[in-house]
């Protein structure tokens, strides 16, 4: 046959029924399209895309291993179509990076439009060359914040949600993590914690104490000018050393 090479596509969706259905409907709407592979996980998608080099990829966003967005940053695909159930990722933002995006449940009408769009892009030789860089920028932001600390309780490892911590207090060997219900002991030094905690909510108030501001009820100054913090629903109060006292002047 001397007809032009048949375009090939990879479909990645972790829900088998949806992936199979998309394959069936695509072959009905676009018989020339060859479905090179149907996969159900992020890593398998990367593998398939690398190996088969298809012109088109239909990528689900939420997938095991790697999300569709992560897959797209790892392998370059000429024409990307994202398929998702909900526009949680501000889909319009990567309108520029992808050839198209589809919202589930996908209607035949909408899928036809996608097919037309892909066909015209294929024939004009257009390609979203800037997709990777754009996606990487979308994915990379936000410096990591500590959300949980791991603490041993007997033989178990508990995960303590940082937002639920009232204060961290260091003694010689451990750091005590106080929550409403319990005190946990961890080995992470205070200064390492401080770097990873949100500076808006966690303040160091003493050489050995970091307090969660959301837990603070009031700041009180005694006759000698020493400042202590009272916590909501707690009886203990936390001393604020002079070096950190200025932060509470307004309270």
């Amino acid at each position: 046959m001397d007809s032009p090479k048949r375009p090939r596509a990879l479909i990645a969706d972790d829900e088998p029924a949806l992936a199979a259905d998309l394959a069936v409907r695509l072959s009905r709407l676009w018989p020339e399209l060859e479905i090179a592979a149907v996969v159900h996980q992020g890593p398998a998608a990367v593998d398939g895309l690398t190996r088969l080099q298809p012109e088109i990829a239909f990528l689900d966003i939420r997938m095991p291993g790697l999300t569709g967005l992560e897959v797209a940053t790892k392998v370059s695909v000429p024409h990307l179509v994202f398929v998702t159930a909900h526009d949680e990722y501000a889909i319009s933002a990567f309108d520029a990076a992808a050839a198209d995006y589809l919202l589930k449940p996908v209607t035949d009408e909408r899928l036809e439009e996608t097919v037309r769009r892909l066909q015209s892009r294929l024939s004009s030789g257009a390609s979203a060359t800037d997709a990777e860089a754009l996606l990487r920028r979308l994915l990379s932001p936000i410096p990591p914040r500590l959300e949980f600390v791991r603490a041993s309780v007997g033989s178990e490892t508990h995960l303590v949600e940082v937002a639920s911590v009232l204060y961290f207090r260091a003694d010689e060997r451990y750091t005590a993590v106080q929550t409403v219900n319990r005190e946990y002991l961890i080995r992470t030094p205070l200064k390492d914690l401080l770097k990873q905690l949100s500076p808006e909510h966690f303040w160091q108030i003493h050489r050995n104490t970091i307090v969660n501001l959301r837990a603070v009820q009031s700041a009180r100054r005694d006759f000698a000018g020493r400042l202590t913090l009272q916590l909501r629903g707690r009886t203990e109060s936390l001393p604020v050393s002079r070096a950190f006292a200025h932060r509470f002047q307004q309270m």
Partner: protein, 351 residues
């Protein structure tokens, strides 16, 4: 007319005033005695009490007539001017007429008594005034605490209503997409899936309007949720529910357990390559009802910008509904995945 228990809204109780006056008068009597007033301690003490209580009583009456019942300067002046002669009179009746004769005998003597009365009344006045202020501050603080607790309660309740009202669009549309494609390829499965979605929505809607449901109802809701995911994810997903019969009718607030199951599926199993299982189990410990949600998923894997898993809301509601002893523990499993456990103390019934 019944007496109010306090002299003013923020003031002292009757017995506190009597007690303080008794102590204060005794103190004055002792000072006078040490100052070598030429009389027996007994008669000095009686005179001090008589004058002191007269001043106090007149003060209280005048303060009440002036309206507020608070310790004010005009009431004190009236107390001294009226109370000193009255007290002297009383003392003369009890201890003999000498003191009365002395008081009435000369202008300077009368002035001296009034001066002493004012002098000794002043510390009292300052003391009572101060007590009133402290009491007012305490009351204001208590009211502020109450208000902030109430605000917090209503904020958490509003958040709950929001949670109850929303069904996650991702879940709904993905499920509908599955129904849509199964209708052709596997109509039986499509019908089953629709039926589960129907149960899920119906029970969910009922729960969204309730403040209390039962564990059996809650498990029914979650079973439909897990069944739907089993259809969607295929054979790689397994699930298990364990609810002992004796716990079926235990009352339970809605939307406390569901976020934990959703977390297990969405953050544990869905991102995992390979098979995954979620086990939901209720059990009775000696002092608490325990609900555990265990998965063998990817474990803690917070993505940047993740929503924080909704745990803060669960904790706040636990505290509001069951008090500070209720807790949510999150543990890493030995092999893989997480276990979330709600501990609800037995003795504290939900309000």
């Amino acid at each position: 007319m019944p007496l109010p228990s306090r002299l003013s809204p923020e003031g002292l109780t009757w017995w506190q005033v009597v007690l303080y006056a008794l102590i204060g008068n005794t103190l004055i009597a002792s000072i006078l005695w040490f100052a070598e007033i030429d009389d027996s301690y007994y008669s000095i003490w009686i005179t001090s009490q008589a004058i002191g209580f007269s001043i106090t009583s007149i003060h209280v009456v005048v303060a009440a007539l002036l309206g507020s019942g608070r310790w004010t300067l005009p009431a004190m002046v009236a107390g001294v001017i009226g109370g000193v002669p009255l007290g002297v009179g009383l003392s003369s009746v009890i201890c003999g007429p000498e003191i009365g004769t002395e008081f009435l005998g000369s202008g300077p003597a009368m002035l001296r008594y009034l001066a002493f009365g004012s002098l000794f009344s002043f510390p009292f006045f300052a003391f009572f005034k101060n007590r009133e202020r402290i009491h007012a501050l305490e009351q204001a603080q208590q009211e502020a605490d109450l208000r902030s607790a109430e605000q917090k309660r209503s904020a958490v309740a509003a958040e709950l209503r929001r949670l109850q009202a929303q069904i996650e669009p991702h879940f709904l549309f993905n499920t509908l997409a599955n129904v849509q494609c199964l209708i052709e390829s596997n109509p039986t499965a499509a019908r089953d899936l629709l039926e589960q979605l129907n149960i899920h929505l119906r029970v969910g809607l009922k729960h969204s309007r309730a403040t209390q449901t039962t564990l059996a109802e809650e498990f029914k809701l979650l079973e439909s949720y897990l069944r739907i995911h089993a259809y969607r994810m295929g054979p790689r997903f397994r699930w298990e529910l364990k609810l002992p019969d004796e716990l079926r009718s235990v009352p339970f607030p809605p939307m406390l357990l569901q976020p934990l199951v959703e977390n297990a599926v969405q953050h544990g199993i869905q991102p995992k390559v390979g098979n995954g299982k979620v086990a939901l189990c209720a059990r009775q410990e000696p002092d608490a009802l325990v609900l555990s949600v265990a998965d063998d998923g990817v474990g803690l894997h917070p993505k940047p910008g993740s929503s924080g898993f909704g745990l803060a809301n669960i904790r706040e509601r636990l505290a509001l509904l069951f008090g500070p002893k209720a807790r949510l523990d999150l543990k890493e499993n030995a092999n893989s995945g997480l276990t979330a456990e709600l501990w609800i103390p037995r003795s504290d019934p939900a309000p």
